[in-house]
Symmetry: C2
Subunit: 280 residues, 2 copies
């Protein structure tokens, strides 16, 4: 068996920053420290933080006054921040800088009267916090048929969830040009996402099987698996080595390994070790 | 022979406005009146104005002080206007309102630090006067390979000559998205152009032969002929009935007639009359 790794692996810049910040604060916290939703979409990392003493909750109500709360890399709603301040919580805001930038652009477009269209997954946490920033004053689309339903607008601002595919974003931009006199497109897809997608595409062309490692709820990991599948590679999206099955492989296979932006190195290494054990 | 007319014929709004304004001023002018370049790209109309007493010149130097000068529908350079004022000329500015709007958008983009890309014909008078407005601070492109040569820019403003094809404009916008973080597209193609191109495309599908009538230098007329050709219709771009040849046609033919935005009705009518004479 030949194992080939994708050129872009491990945490992206934003996830690394978020995880480091959480780690530092959990280590030095004396009392209980709370996490408002999983800070990144990787259950193994969250499990690690729980062991280190963090308590993961879904609502501010579950957090006692004057505690410390860590918010998600996907961004946090201004309303939640306001309520947290009212409860005198210490806030560790781990919002990814690229996500923060999309929020700023959206706020600017909103203030300047643009009809805002967002390319994104309607229930992804990044999109939910983004919508909160602009008081839901936008529509979220993921297909060209949704674009076709938009009525003609004087000016449209178009932005994207940071982990979307650039080619799809461009296709939707193309369709939006029929809907307005002025189209203002901000390419808010983070470079790490585009690079990772490109290297995965390259790899998928060379191998028999692709193993894409990352959280089941991780949008960027799902996208990588999708790209491999579209390329025609036999693709498995797994969270950990435990989901991998011996019968998927043949000793002569070329196997490509890729991972999402929130997959820690140790989870990747365990997958590689297991493959080597099986087909040493 | 069956003759079918395109749904959109005759002068467009801008040409009509320009021609009416020139006509009114030429009729009421007592002394000599000058035209700085042909006000529209139709030699038959210009010939008519010459007969009415207008003198067509190519340079301000040819116009005596304190005379009246009529400028083109395609726009006029601010520098030329300034020089005309210095010569104490009365200026009849027939710039098409849609062309004026592109100039305003270009000036706005220039002032706000955008790298300006214009979809246009490099030597078309509309583009030349547009470039003058923004002190040549733009690049003019007509193909995707020209877009590919552009280096990465922080923000790009993209506009079009008013008579270009919307589909090509969209394709170039798509390519430009690779070149910038922010792409601001203003669809400055005038609606009359888009509608005319659409109705010509429809017509070309139904007929054996297309006759497209308009000035040889008329960009919008050439585009109509191009669209018919691409559709697979046997197409002739003529200026007047005199260029039409008997042997082009067969008595059983379905013949489509279309015309550019600057082609006067009487030129169109003469073509139709001649066809009827031949194949009554």
């Amino acid at each position: 068996m030949k194992i080939i790794l994708s050129k872009k692996m491990g945490f992206c810049f934003g996830v690394k920053k978020s995880v480091d910040l959480a780690k530092k604060n959990i280590e030095t916290s004396e009392g209980k420290i709370y996490m408002l939703g999983p800070i990144i979409n990787n259950p193994q990392v969250i499990e690690y933080f729980k062991k280190e003493g963090a308590k993961v909750v879904n609502d501010l109500d579950e957090i006692p006054e004057k505690s410390t709360v860590i918010t998600r890399a996907h961004g946090v709603s201004p309303l939640v921040l306001h309520q947290a301040l009212k409860k005198k919580l210490s806030i560790i805001n781990t919002t990814c800088p690229y996500v923060k930038k999309v929020q700023e652009i959206a706020a600017y477009l909103n203030k300047n009267g643009y009809y805002i269209v967002i390319f994104g997954d309607k229930i992804h946490p990044e999109i939910l916090s983004l919508l909160d920033v602009i008081h839901n004053n936008a529509i979220v689309v993921s297909t060209i048929s949704e674009i076709r339903e938009i009525s003609y607008q004087k000016k449209i601002g178009f932005i994207s969830q940071t982990t979307k595919n650039i080619y799809d974003f461009k296709k939707l931009s193309f369709a939006l040009l029929d809907k307005t006199e002025e189209l203002r497109v901000f390419n808010t897809i983070c470079k790490a996402t585009t690079e990772r997608q490109r290297s995965v595409l390259e790899l998928a062309k060379q191998v028999d099987i692709m193993i894409v490692i990352g959280g089941n709820k991780s949008a960027n990991t799902s996208r990588l698996a999708e790209i491999c599948q579209n390329q025609g590679a036999k693709t498995y999206h797994i969270e950990t080595k435990n989901q991998m099955k011996y019968e998927w492989f043949h000793p002569e296979d070329k196997v490509g390994i890729a991972s999402g932006a929130s997959t820690p190195d140790w989870v990747i290494n365990e997958v590689i070790m297991k493959l080597r054990d099986w087909y040493a």
